[in-house]
């Protein structure tokens, strides 16, 4: 249960020794959706969340203040040749630590995976330095759950929901894209309301998508899944609770979760089933920190794959200045997409596809990210053109690599005395080739509508973190099976983007939700069959 307005923390709904509950760790896209779906199906769920239970009215229309309110800023370290290790060494990812997880700052882009994106390895065979593997499932397995997920999220252009209107920033990107010959140009499939729906109002085009939606027009687990779960009377939400270990018995079944509560007390919750959904960096860290004599390399890690194959998408951004005003910050931040490059065409010099998506930043973040470390009069003059600037984000499939991985950094401990995660990434030549292609394509789009200058922005900490507990048909190739069930531990599940065998070009949230809905159905069947 959540904290009450009078500040008194209610007692937990379920007892610490209630071994009948399902414990879900993490309340974002995977965990929040799974918790609700399990509650709807009659299960008792304890939802453990490291962050506070902020409400939309608490969100802040100011980039740095909001980052400090919502972002996961606990200690992390980085290594590898990626620019993040130099430019933002302690912020490898921009994820959220709050009830609702990273759905709270999600702009809402909802592309589905394409059929070929589930089997990149079969399409292309081995690629040097890449640990590609086909998913154990295909698009047809996921389609019914994509349908449900789109209905649940209220995705525009599905289920009769009107398309988002074109905003200023989209008029620039969209016209440029059409002039260079792209045809997959639209305001996109977006998880925010264009009309009132599901008890939430329509957007007022207030921007600030990455700062939490005060209007509640955007779907998030905070404003949709978790309140619905609470109404069943079967959800026990425990905010400000940091899971630090998952326990197991002598037979290798998990029995409970040890966490530190809001007052700093060490607590333990018994569990019949444990589902880990902490976002790929923390999910891997928690499994690794749960090592024991039975699981010396980390829980569910007999394959050695926990933490490996970390993917974050090939990203980048292009901004451009014009001689007429744009005011890119007005309206829904990412309501625009160009889909033409999300195709499988190795003739371009790389495997996999990418999207161009609408994107804007306020002056505070733009000044930090446009050219990290830049200063001086030239830079100040670029910033003075802010109102005349348009922006797009580039997001494409990156290659899984065995050594792009999350490990424990035992030299740095967090506030709970736990080793922090180190995130190591080396760009693969395929990633670099895709990024260069995408930059050039983005620049040509803006050139077609008269850009005065264009700016290639290097990847900054993003919110897409995938692959660190990947699905595999064979236990030796990955961590979980097609339902997210650990190969090594029958009553342990992974329920977030960590399970993605490959990342596709699509923003991951819709797929994470679809997988969570599929997993909930499977868990219910297994419980009924007495298999859990």
């Amino acid at each position: 249960m959540s904290a009450q307005p009078d500040g008194h923390r209610p007692v937990n709904r379920f007892a610490a020794d209630d071994s009948d509950v399902i414990v879900v760790i993490g309340s974002g896209a995977g965990g929040g959706t799974l918790a609700n779906e399990l509650c709807q199906r009659g299960a008792k769920v304890v939802l453990i969340e490291a962050g506070r239970h902020h409400q939309p009215e608490d969100f802040i229309n100011d980039e740095w203040a909001s980052l400090n309110q919502l972002a996961w800023l606990d200690a992390r370290t980085t290594s590898g040749s990626w620019r993040i290790a130099r430019e933002f060494p302690n912020l490898p990812a921009w994820t959220c630590k709050t009830v609702g997880g990273t759905t709270v700052h999600w702009a809402g882009c909802c592309p589905r995976f394409k059929e070929w994106e589930f089997r990149i390895r079969s399409e292309h065979g081995c690629i040097d330095g890449v640990s590609l593997l086909d998913w154990p499932i295909g698009l047809s397995d996921l389609e019914p759950y994509y349908d449900k997920a789109e209905d649940r999220l209220g995705v525009t252009r599905t289920n009769g929901i009107p398309a988002p209107p074109a905003n200023n920033n989209f008029k620039v990107m969209g016209n440029g894209a059409k002039r260079v010959g792209y045809t997959g140009v639209s305001t996109g499939r977006m998880a925010f309301n264009t009309v009132p729906r599901d008890g939430r109002p329509a957007t007022i085009q207030d921007g600030f998508n990455y700062q939490g939606d005060k209007q509640r027009a955007h779907w998030s687990t905070l404003t949709s899944e978790i309140p619905k779960a609470e109404r069943t009377g079967r959800l026990d939400l425990r905010p400000e609770s940091m899971a630090i270990r998952i326990d197991h018995d002598d037979f290798g079944k998990v029995t409970g979760v040890v966490y530190v509560d809001a007052e700093g007390n060490l607590r333990r919750q018994e569990a019949r089933v444990v589902c880990v959904a902490c976002n790929a960096i923390e999910t891997a860290r928690l499994l690794l920190n749960s090592a024991s004599s039975l699981f010396p390399d980390g829980l569910a890690n007999s394959s050695g794959q926990v933490g490996r194959n970390y993917m974050r998408h090939v990203t980048g951004a292009v901004f451009a200045t014009f001689d007429k005003p744009v005011r890119m910050y007005r309206g829904e931040t990412m309501a625009g997409i160009v889909t033409d490059e999300s195709r499988n065409d190795p003739g371009r010099g790389f495997v996999g596809g990418y999207y161009m998506q609408l994107h804007s930043l306020g002056p505070s973040f733009l000044a930090t990210f446009l050219r990290p470390s830049a200063w001086g009069r030239d830079f100040a003059q670029i910033m003075e053109r802010y109102g005349y600037m348009a922006g797009m984000w580039l997001v494409g499939e990156d290659m899984p690599q065995e050594n792009n991985r999350v490990t424990l950094n035992r030299d740095v401990l967090d506030q709970f005395g736990q080793p922090v995660p180190n995130v190591h990434v080396d760009d693969h030549p395929n990633d670099t080739a895709m990024r260069e292609h995408a930059y050039a394509a983005g620049e040509s789009v803006y050139a077609a509508v008269g850009a005065l200058r264009t700016f290639r922005v290097s990847p900054y900490p993003t919110s897409h973190n995938l692959g660190t507990a990947r699905m595999s048909a064979r236990p030796e190739d990955g961590v979980v099976n097609e339902f997210g069930r650990a190969h090594d531990v029958p009553n342990l599940f992974v329920s977030d983007g960590s399970v993605m065998t490959t990342g596709a070009a699509a923003n991951p949230t819709l797929t994470i939700v679809a997988l969570a809905l599929r997993q909930a159905e499977y868990i219910e069947q297994q419980l009924k069959a007495g298999a859990l």
Partner: protein, 118 residues
């Protein structure tokens, strides 16, 4: 470091205040700043240099801990200041003004709606 001629000096004075605050809270930061300031004043006092000479002196310290601390503080402070927002054409918080649904989210008039255009 981020010179905007139209901004009042107070915007930059606030950066200095922020640095002083950080120095008070952390003796390591204080030592870094002291060392950097003495380096800047190594020849003639920094304040007496011409703008070009000041720029040259700053460039000489680029990459140092002092420089990076001052730069990263300045970039956040200067571009989070409402006076800078006004100067560069940014309107700041929008929710309490009703968003932009009736305030020009789509008022760009030099290009058509791309989906409506054929």
């Amino acid at each position: 470091m981020y010179p905007h001629d139209a901004l009042p000096d107070d915007v930059y004075a606030r950066v200095a205040e922020k640095l002083a605050e950080a120095a008070r809270e952390d003796s390591g930061v204080a030592r870094t700043i002291e060392a950097g300031v003495s380096a800047l004043n190594g020849g003639r006092p920094f304040a007496e240099l011409s703008a070009d000479e000041q720029l040259k002196a700053l460039k000489g310290l680029e990459g140092s801990d002092f420089f990076e601390f001052v730069r990263s503080t300045a970039v956040v402070e200067v571009y989070s200041d409402q006076r800078t927002w006004h100067l560069v054409g940014y309107e700041g918080p929008s929710f309490d003004k009703g968003g932009y649904i009736n305030r020009g989210f789509n008022d760009l008039d030099w290009l058509p709606d791309p989906e409506a255009a054929s």
